[in-house]
Symmetry: C2
DNA sequence: GTCTATAGAACGATAGAC
DNA sequence: GTCTATCGTTCTATAGAC
């Protein structure tokens, strides 16, 4: 069995999720990750090619979870109700204690553009745009999609920097009032 | 004249502005800053207490420039035209080659909350909110102000991450269509 | 002399890689 | 655990301006 092997990998991904998101990627050293995971340093390099790959894997886990959320939301038939539910989830997240904004846009500031992590970030925004486009029944290049992306990023960024969850509500109001909903 | 004195400091602030904004703060080492500025390492520590203070000074220069922009915009009497002009400037900036999003929200990801730089970031958002509140003729805690902050952050963040200036235009459309303008 | 500039060595700490 | 590289910082030593 490869129980130990997968366990070390899982513990590392768990520790990475907590530390990279809470303290930042560059500010979090390898030593801190393995200490928090409770594994040996060699276990990291057995499971990942290096820190860059660990960062990419951390974001991939986030992306998977995001996909599941989108799949759940797609079960809502009414487009307007679906978008409402999307921003309701955002508001709930922002109100939670560990909230620190969008993990992908946060990471985008810290990773360099040719990093494997950057590909995951781009993929996240592609899926976000695709979700909005499907819901609005328009092309992904549509202005309405762009407005929703602006509202998402604005909500996450503002609520995070100013530590004020009510800004997500402001973004939600903006979405309700905007032309894209007609 | 104290040409030499102010020159080293100015060169350092110039180099810091370029490198911190383009490559990120943590990714930019002291050695790279002084090499780009063409000054000695001691000159940095003669003019600034350390890297943290240099980062704070870099953001303070940005804040000063932002203040001048706001002062110019305040000369526009009509509130709606003033906000239009604000987002027009954003669009122009985003279309320029060196655009990399809001320097303050970018820095917020990299500096720790008790850093001197963080105080400058908070001050930036205070002045941005104050500008919007004055223009709308409402309190700084008003929902309309929050919506404008969301649009600003959403525009800067989206256009930067996705490298698509048209997202600033989408944010502008959102502002035009929103309830805050009635 | 005093001040600020220069170049560069060297410090301890910590990074990522193996 | 050990390697090497680099981080931010401090210090030595010297040159030029007022």
């Amino acid at each position: 069995m490869t129980v130990t092997r997968s366990s070390a990998r899982a513990k590392l991904l768990d520790a990475a999720a907590t530390l990279f998101y809470r303290d930042g990627i560059t500010a979090t050293g390898i030593d801190r990750v393995i200490a928090h995971a409770g594994v040996a340093k060699a276990s990291l390099y057995n499971n990942f090619a290096g820190k860059d790959e660990l960062v990419a894997a951390y974001l991939s886990v986030r992306l998977e979870r995001f996909d599941q959320t989108l799949a759940t939301l797609m079960e809502i038939a009414d487009p307007l109700a679906r978008i409402d539910a999307f921003f309701d989830r955002l508001e709930a997240n922002a109100a939670s204690g560990q909230f620190g904004g969008c993990p992908f846009s946060r990471a985008a500031v810290e990773v360099n553009p040719d990093s494997p992590a950057h590909r995951v970030i781009v993929e996240f925004y592609r899926r976000l745009g695709s979700f909005f486009a499907q819901t609005l029944g328009v092309d992904i290049e549509d202005a309405g999609v762009k407005q929703l992306i602006v509202c998402y990023n604005g909500a996450m960024s503002s609520a995070s920097v100013l530590k004020d969850p009510s800004l997500v509500g402001a973004a939600h109001d903006l979405v309700r009032a905007s032309t894209m909903r007609r």
